[in-house]
């Protein structure tokens, strides 16, 4: 994935994939001081209570693709809306829980051999496709081969790059063995990625003419590209008695304020990705329920450490000390977020919580710069409206940095060319990613070879230690090795991760069973447990 897409978005709408924070903004939340802030439906709002009720037609509004680039292919759908459609039509082998640990879904067992060079996946028994066929190992073989086929250029192929597609072997009707090109200790964390759905054997096209057949809680009814997808209940869903709704319509609305208006005006029961400040106002009026994700998606300034003036570690440290992170969280994200500590993955397993939180210390920054002979430092920060919160955070940073004697000039680029022409090309830009495993992010953005190495972090020794950590089967040793990798990033890296911003949904008081969910996680965008009061 590229984040870029995700993040990027082109549009804004869209794209999200994994990560990205992008564009959309989003997400998540935070762990405050180690304890999850709950998923909560925010403060006492009037969400439906009591026993779930069956039936009902629910309309959800979320940003999606335009008609020209909309898709029903689960390996291509990158927009928030597209991701939600797939989440409800298909299932993954395993998925992230709220705390970003992984639990099995279609897989009954996912287990490695002694050194992580070979993994075995056994599928759950008794799962049926929407057309009545039984889920089998052949489906899984086809899914992985189709995803990894280089001719298809699927973004998700990178996530599973360590899997040796040619060596896949069916052991029995429900079991498949996957040899790895390089050992990995935690394959489930990548199998839980944005695109890694299980599709039916032979399926390669997904459209109104060749309707998608999944194993998910809802069946496909109708697709109106760029406008909406209509789904109906899968009565044979494998998970006990779910789902509750008879009909689900996922409607694509690109403007955040318009989504909220649709909810307030009764044209939709759920509005996804409500802007932070609007959510705060709605919590006060209590007219709709507001739920926010337990973990946030990171927002950062990224410095290319091989470009002036960021080649000097003192300059990088001074920049990191010149950001008032709390003010950004409070102002830009209306408090729906948590300060970042310049590292990816707050709240995820293996995240290094032992490092001190970097504070806003303009005096120390000034002293560092003086010592390095870089007083009156001037830098240009490239920003763009590609993701909600980017321009606002950059604007605040200009003021914060002044107190450290640093002059930050903002250069605002058009959103349509930011990810292709500015990001990773200019030395100081903005970025953001969704919450996945550290394994995944390091492979995407921090190894020397990565095309999305947005901080120019190219250290062969660090790469080697990362591959070693990734293949370390002993959990304690693995954690230790990841902690060291992160310490080096924290000390010398080019990320200024200032915030983790929550993803916020609004819901009518008639909606029950909706919980705030971290963007990459299983519950995010899933309607299998959502119900409507009469």
């Amino acid at each position: 994935m590229n984040r870029s897409d995700l993040l990027s978005g082109r549009a804004g709408h869209s794209l999200s994939r994994r990560g990205f924070l992008g564009v959309l903004g989003a997400s998540s939340a935070l762990v405050l001081g180690g304890s999850l802030v709950g998923c909560s439906s925010g403060g006492g709002l009037p969400a439906a209570q009591g026993e779930p009720r069956r039936g009902g037609h629910l309309r959800a509004v979320v940003s999606g693709n335009s008609s020209s680039d909309d898709t029903l292919h689960p390996f291509v759908a990158a927009s928030w809306g597209g991701g939600m459609v797939m989440k409800n039509l298909f299932d993954k082998l395993c998925a992230y829980d709220d705390d970003l640990t992984v639990r099995n879904r279609l897989a009954e067992v996912i287990e490695p051999n002694a050194d992580g060079s070979e993994w075995t996946i056994r599928l759950r028994d008794g799962v049926r496709w929407h057309d009545g066929k039984r889920l089998s190992a052949d489906d899984l073989l086809h899914s992985i081969r189709h995803l990894l086929d280089p001719a298809n250029k699927f973004p998700g192929a990178l996530d599973l790059a360590m899997v040796d597609a040619a060596g896949l072997r069916k052991l029995d009707a429900r079991t498949v063995r996957l040899p790895m090109r390089e050992p990995i200790a935690d394959l489930p964390s990548v199998l839980a990625g944005w695109y890694v759905y299980v599709i039916q054997d032979g399926a390669t096209e997904f459209s109104n003419d060749e309707p998608p057949v999944g194993t998910g809680p809802f069946r496909f009814s109708r697709w109106e590209p760029g406008d909406r997808v209509a789904l109906s209940r899968n009565d044979d869903y494998w998970e006990n008695d779910l789902p509750y709704l008879d009909e689900l319509e996922i409607i694509f609305v690109s403007q955040a304020d318009t989504r909220l208006n649709a909810l307030l005006g009764g044209e939709a029961e759920i509005a996804h990705e409500v802007p932070w400040t609007q959510a705060r106002a709605q919590e006060k009026t209590g007219q709709v329920a507001i739920v926010s994700s337990p973990l946030g998606r990171f927002h950062a300034f990224n410095m290319l450490i091989d470009r002036e003036p960021f080649t000097d570690p003192a300059v990088r440290e001074a920049i990191k000390l010149s950001v008032d992170r709390q003010e950004i969280v409070d102002t830009v994200f209306a408090g729906y977020g948590e300060v970042g500590n310049d590292l990816y993955g707050k709240g995820a397993p293996l995240y290094n919580d032992d490092l001190p939180q970097r504070a806003y210390d303009p005096d120390k920054a000034r002293a560092l710069l003086r010592k390095a002979g870089k007083e009156d430092l001037r830098v240009t920060l490239h920003t763009s409206d590609v993701t909600p919160g980017f321009v606002e955070a950059a604007t605040l940073f200009v003021e914060h940095a002044k107190r450290a004697g640093i002059t930050v000039e903002l250069a605002k680029s058009p959103a349509d060319s930011y990810w292709t022409e500015v990001w990773t090309k200019q030395p100081f830009t903005q970025t953001g990613w969704g919450n996945y495993s550290l394994d995944w992010f390091f492979g995407q953005a921090l190894v020397s070879e990565s095309g999305q190495n947005e901080t120019a972090w190219r250290r062969p020794d660090w790469d080697r230690r990362f591959f070693q950590a990734r293949a370390t089967m002993d959990p304690a040793l693995r954690k230790e090795r990841y902690a060291e990798l992160q310490r080096e990033l924290w000390d010398e890296g080019g990320y200024v991760v200032h915030s983790f911003a929550k993803w916020i949904d609004g819901a009518s008081p008639r909606v029950g069973g909706l919980r705030g969910a971290t963007v990459s996680s299983d519950r995010w965008g899933s309607y299998r447990e959502v119900w409507l009061a009469s």
């Binding site: 291509v76 590209p225 406008d227």
Partner: protein, 336 residues
């Protein structure tokens, strides 16, 4: 209008108005071709192309390797020089084939079909209401220039004109949808239905467009009317004791309306810009989101088709206004 040989001589002499229609239409077609060429070249000049966008989206590497880019460009036909691509596009257009989206591969007709219809419904409704409002209020207040009625109309017109569309739309939504609950706050159109099946969803979008456009149009008609009212021939007519009602209908209205119609055509074509904003605010499934996204993803066939459709509409409106003026002012019609 200067004497025109086409109007006064040759086989067209007996049907000067018909000839005028034909000439105007030919000019419109030429202008449309010129617009399509400009849009094509303009899209070509933008940094990056569809191959960049697709690969940035789908490969891991911010943009893909040069080999991947070259392969994808060849696949999409982007390696062909633009004049050749443009001629290919024109050729397809003449056969009714608008090509396929570079991003999704679906046919452009499919992608924009129903959305273009929805936008035309919205624009058409706004226009049908705008013309009588602008002409009626403009004439009315122009004739009673300086009196209280005129002051109220002019004041409101100036105020409304000063509001950007999204502010007007937001205010209207807050008042009529969220507070009063009278009208839908968003204008979603269920698949397979026409917006006209639920006309209430058109009310706020049309009011938003009218509130902004009517102000300007009313003021234009009023300005022209008040000039005519003070013109010598009107004064002379009054001095001759012709009843005021007849002065207005016989002398003021036709002379004020001619030039005002052309100005009005300008503001109707300006609708195109306002509609982009209004459609997004109301989540109305028209072409604006499509156009913005297609530009972002450098999806040239979609951009071309939409720009072409908009150019055709704009030129059609101008041409129609011109012809109406000619019909209204006999002097022009007879070429004298």
């Amino acid at each position: 209008m200067p004497r025109d040989p086409l109007l006064t001589a040759g086989p067209g002499r007996h049907h000067p108005f018909l000839m005028l229609c034909i000439r105007r239409s030919l000019a419109g077609i030429a202008a449309t071709c010129a617009v399509s060429l400009l849009v094509f070249v303009g899209t070509d000049l933008l940094p990056g192309d569809a191959a960049d966008v697709i690969l940035t989206r789908s490969a891991s590497s911010g943009g893909g390797t040069p080999e991947q880019l070259a392969a994808l460009r060849a696949e999409l036909g982007l390696d062909v020089p633009w004049p050749q691509r443009y001629l290919g596009w024109i050729g397809g257009l003449l056969q009714g084939d608008l090509g396929s989206s570079l991003v999704s591969g679906r046919s452009v007709t499919d992608v924009i079909g129903s959305r273009l219809g929805n936008t035309l419904v919205l624009a058409g409704t706004a226009t049908v209401l705008l013309v009588p409002v602008a002409v009626g209020l403009g004439l009315w207040s122009g004739i009673r220039q300086g009196r209280p009625g005129d002051r109220v109309v002019s004041g409101v017109a100036v105020a409304a004109q000063a509001l950007p569309e999204f502010v007007a739309a937001t205010l209207l939504i807050a008042v009529f949808a969220l507070i009063a609950g009278l009208l839908p706050a968003v204008s979603l159109v269920p698949p397979g239905t026409s917006p006209l099946a639920r006309p209430e969803i058109l009310v706020l979008p049309v009011l938003s467009l009218l509130s902004v456009m009517a102000g300007q149009s009313i003021r234009m008609v009023r300005a022209r009317t008040s000039e005519v009212v003070r013109a010598d021939f009107v004064r002379v007519a009054r001095l001759h004791g012709i009843p005021e009602r007849r002065v207005v209908w016989r002398y003021v209205v036709p002379n004020a309306l001619g030039p005002a119609l052309q100005l009005l055509a300008g503001s109707i074509s300006w609708l195109v810009g306002g509609i982009v904003v209004v459609e997004q605010v109301f989540a109305y499934p028209g072409i604006s989101h499509e156009l913005v996204q297609a530009i972002i993803s450098r999806d040239v066939p979609v951009v071309q088709a939409l720009a072409f459709a908009m150019a055709v509409c704009t030129l059609a409106i101008y041409t129609l206004a011109d012809l109406l003026v000619v019909a209204l002012v006999p002097k022009l019609r007879t070429g004298g």
